[in-house]
């Protein structure tokens, strides 16, 4: 049979399209020149410059604080949601499912705008706290999605065996269900962490003055065309971290050899 080569050529082109800009950015971060259009020799000076930037370090600290809080809270809330959604045929779960789906489809700008108006209406001062509340909200839905997928091929016989052997419901949950489900919950938490670190639009709407995260600070620097080579260096480091996170997450979500 003759296979058409066109789809494979498209696939190859698309992969090049995906990675060319990223590669260009990493390459440029080692460019001695201040401008992107001239290669002026290899240099690590933009990376050295990074260590002198206290504002970037502070923003990174903020990002990490928010992402840690948001991923921990959304792991708890999202896992509970995934368990609740297993009760299929009920009106409550229909409404619940719709609520969980809304943050997944609502454009970021609407989520940011609506949360800003909520915080203003309730007189809440915009701060790292309001950013964390916003991040928990969209992370929750993603964790629920990941854990739900894991629950679909979860072997509940192990839990029932524990119950038959005299474990209470709580004991069975803590000693059997949670450990078996842990990789799924952790993968959800990792996704939440990345989404939180990544978020710009929602954060921009609900952040107060002075509470910059890494993306909002970088964005402001880009808009002012300030220290672009430093952003290249920073971006390269962030990309490296992302690749490491993906590698870990791949490990977690890979199906285990035996289900128990």
């Amino acid at each position: 049979m003759k296979k058409s080569r066109l789809p494979f050529a498209t696939l190859l082109l698309v992969l090049v399209f995906f990675y060319l800009p990223i590669g260009f950015l990493v390459l440029n971060s080692f460019n001695n020149s201040r401008y992107a259009s001239k290669w002026n020799g290899f240099s690590t000076r933009w990376y050295e410059r990074l260590t002198e930037r206290d504002d970037l370090v502070a923003a990174l600290g903020n990002s990490l604080k928010i992402a840690t809080g948001a991923s921990l809270a959304s792991m708890v809330l999202g896992t509970a949601a995934a368990f609740a959604l297993r009760h299929r045929a009920s009106k409550l779960q229909d409404a619940h499912r719709l609520l969980v789906a809304v943050p997944l489809v609502l454009p970021d700008i609407l989520m940011g705008m609506s949360l800003l108006l909520l915080f203003i209406s309730f007189g809440l001062k915009l701060s790292l706290f309001t950013i964390t509340l916003a991040h928990i909200t969209f992370c929750l839905s993603y964790v629920a999605l990941v854990v739900q997928a894991r629950l679909q091929d979860f072997d509940f016989n192990a839990v029932e065996a524990a119950r038959d052997l005299g474990a209470t419901k709580l004991q069975a949950f803590v000693k059997v269900t949670l450990p078996l489900l842990a990789p799924g919950i952790l993968a959800g938490g990792l996704l939440a962490f990345t989404l939180s670190i990544d978020d710009y639009v929602i954060t921009y709407f609900v952040k107060g003055p002075g509470s910059d995260t890494l993306p909002t600070l970088v964005y402001a620097m880009i808009k002012k065309s300030k220290d672009l080579p430093v952003i290249n260096a920073l971006s390269s480091i962030m990309l490296l971290v992302t690749f490491a996170v993906v590698a870990v997450s791949q490990r977690l979500t890979r199906p285990t050899p035996s289900s128990i």
């Binding site: 498209t10 696939l11 698309v14 970021d108 993306p215 791949q250």
Partner: protein, 277 residues
Amino acid sequence: MNKERRSEILATAPSFLWLAMFVLVPVLIIFAIAFRPALPAGGIGEGWSLDAVRSLAEPAYLSLLLRTLWISALTTAACIALSLPVAYAMARLTPVWRSRVLLLVIVPFWTNFVIRVFAWQQILHAQGYLAELLRGLHLIGPNDRLLGNLGAVVLVSVYTYLPFSILPLFAAAEKFDFGLLDAARDLGAKPARAFFGVFVPGVRQGIITAFLVVFIPMLGSYVVPDMVGGTGTQMIGNKIAQRNFSDRNLPEAAALSGALALLVLAPMFLRRKEKPQ
């Protein structure tokens, strides 16, 4: 039964209440504040007013809406057109290569969005290699810019949303019975005819999902037109941000957001109503 119900409510309560508080209530507040008067200093006034909602009738908003729909439609069409052959090719790979390529498609989804748009901004920059190259080849004039136009916004939007449309189409292509294509060819169909006549209808559900996951977020696009677009490519999202941060007119920002919310959420509810049949 009663105990079962209680444990269901107990498991549902945390996420349900959280989302009601931070999703449902805020969306309702958008619609409420759209009917409030704006204070000159930037606050929200007492009482009710139709000023903000009435301002939506300005002709400038109609062209803003049409431009938003047009940019979103172009991006979605380009994403689906590219994703169809990609999903086809991925589904025909050996399982080992399939999971490798799948990983390569997913990784951009994990990388920072602002950074990816920034990378393009540098590539398309007036003094960048690409502009110099195209100028050298006389493909663009000395004063032509690669940034700030519709092409740049659509290109970078496609770049950021392509993984979202590849994934559902790949999921559909994986379930597609490729024997049908062989049958079509045995019956004399040319490869292109078999592709469009058999494969494309076969992954219809994937196309619908891909459409939704690209088109809906595109309607609320803000970062891409802000970073690589210009005044001629402003979308609804940019206007909302402008009303909010520059003009400090929260009721007008809310009215615009409300209109966008209706535009985005209406198809979702219509789809739910259709489903049971």
